[in-house]
Point group: C2
Chain length 334, copies 2
């Protein structure tokens, strides 16, 4: 019997279509190549002149936009938003518009031509996580910007156009609707219970155990109860914090291990699928609060999102999250 499940944060119902239950091997999916294509790569060390000038780099004394770096952040060469200019808000009858002000940056995670963040050393992944924090803290000073989305598209099916491992950042002059909805849902719960819904979720999931993939003393990794997608995976910090950029050094160090382990498990069970990875964090200009709890959501691309999902925001998931969690939990990393 299929089941309808409601996400406790956003009140979003999903169908867990057990009649169609699917195991990892059942999905016709793109496998991200294991070996480089050999095409010219603008992100490799030595090709710094092929990218816009860096806005941040971790380097060992060498000059800006020269080799000698271990991580670089550069503006996207084809940005969807621009940092210069005025918002120029205006109406046109029913409609509202403004200039496309914002930032669109690329985090080049390593100078070497590595194809997958999960292959990097933990210390290198830790640097990426530091770069996210450093960039958000810097962009926060621009009061026009209200939200920063940190994300990764891994593989062509997930929207990646270059194979060299990289993440992206888009800073926006508005809070996106889906983000606001998640924040509002968490706030409504807090107003009712005086507890954070994510903290409650962590306690309940830890007790149940069936959806837990892995845990440390600082993080818990799980398949969410009302998962929209097969093998959807959330990484939640145990310490309540609304904003990612307030993370501390011990947490960052542990997160590098947790992220690497989780992505390696996904790569193993699903054979290097394309995926998106997103950091959900509170709106940039809002002070720290008791209701929102930053976390990471990882969505492997295994199914096609069809008309039904787009029309309703009502997802059909053919794999119960308990099964996804079991496959990932039991995946040994050798």
């Amino acid at each position: 019997m299929p089941e309808l499940r409601k996400d406790p944060i956003t009140d979003r119902w999903v169908i867990i279509a057990t009649e169609r239950a699917r195991r990892p091997a059942d999905f016709a999916r793109e496998h991200v190549p294991a070996a480089p294509s050999g095409r010219f790569c603008p992100f490799c060390s030595g090709n710094e002149s092929k990218t816009p000038d860096e806005v941040l780099a971790y380097r060992n004394g060498s000059g800006a936009n020269q080799p000698g770096w271990s991580l670089r952040v550069v503006p996207n060469k084809f940005p969807v938003l621009q940092i210069e200019g005025d918002l120029g808000r205006e109406g046109e009858g029913l409609f509202d518009r403004m200039q496309g002000i914002g930032a669109h940056e690329v985090v080049i995670e390593t100078p070497d031509h590595v194809l997958n963040i999960s292959e990097l050393h933990e210390k290198t992944i830790e640097q990426v996580l530091w770069a996210f924090r450093d960039r958000v803290r810097d962009l926060k000073n621009d009061r026009r910007l209200r939200y920063v989305l940190l994300f990764k598209n891994q593989g062509q099916a997930a929207g990646a156009t270059l194979e060299h491992t990289h993440s992206q950042l888009i800073a926006l002059p508005v809070v996106p609707k889906r983000v606001q909805e998640e924040v509002d849902g968490a706030k409504a719960y807090y107003e009712f219970k005086e507890r954070c819904v994510f903290c409650d979720l962590i306690r309940q999931e830890e007790k149940a155990g069936t959806r837990v993939i892995t845990e440390t003393d600082k993080f818990i990794v799980l398949s969410p109860y009302a998962a929209r997608f097969p093998f959807e995976t959330w990484i939640l910090p145990r310490t309540h914090r609304s904003h990612y950029e307030d993370i501390d050094a011990q947490q960052l160090e542990n997160l590098a291990w947790v992220l690497k382990t989780t992505l390696r498990k996904i790569d193993k069970v699903l054979e290097r699928p394309a995926y998106n990875f997103l950091i959900h964090t509170a709106p940039l200009q809002e002070p720290a609060n008791q209701w929102f709890h930053w976390h990471i959501e990882i969505i492997p691309h295994l199914t096609r999102v069809a008309g039904f999902e787009w029309g309703t925001g009502f997802y059909i998931n053919p794999t119960p999250p308990e099964e996804s969690a079991k496959f990932l939990r039991e995946a040994g990393l050798g």
Copy 2:
């Protein structure tokens, strides 16, 4: 300069990324085959025993589940929801669930192995539109059901698994969040202005003209101001009605022409793209109202929806709707 635009119904912002402006030929997309694959088809006349028993058929005196029909509606063989059983609502700590009660049906639009609804005669398309109305009216009697989504997945990239032209219907025991959001947005506007936002939109778009694709005395077809996708197309009836199932015979007849013409333009300009087509209508058990205005949304699959979109509900559209509209408006059908 890229532009941020807000949809006046849902307050959803989108980025119109003019720096990446793309013409029809620029999209790497799936073309729906023009010729049949030759594989066995359970939807063709003579193969009635290969589908579940029909719930509706338009036929010329022949017996149920026999040849002699011009349109059949059958339950989906692999339904995501089932009609029998109790809702069995229950909680589990933070979580809510219920049994997957609902209907999942397939509208087989013609007995012949035609691959695209736009190739059917207008009278045949009119029958499809009648079948949508008849099925919704029937399902409305089941008071457990709160919403019916009528949709079509055309082409594999849009989620279709069989090539014989067909539509689908999913009836749900909840109102999907995105639908509720659209209804609430329209209601808030009505409470403020005492006018329907869609009626206002039609008047304004007709005056501006730049986003209009085609019009009749009963319908207007346009590219929406804050289109999420390149060549996203809406068909709006001029007469205000909240529920699709209240459509009258003259409107249905005209809609068949409008739908065929619109889809033929899309097929011509984008060379038979995969697409989804959705009817947006008011919740099933609610009485007719002054604020919601049923309409059809057509979304060609030209771009990959990446992590950014999924994480935020914030879409990046590389083709300004004025350009999409111009291409479609000017497409002669010979």
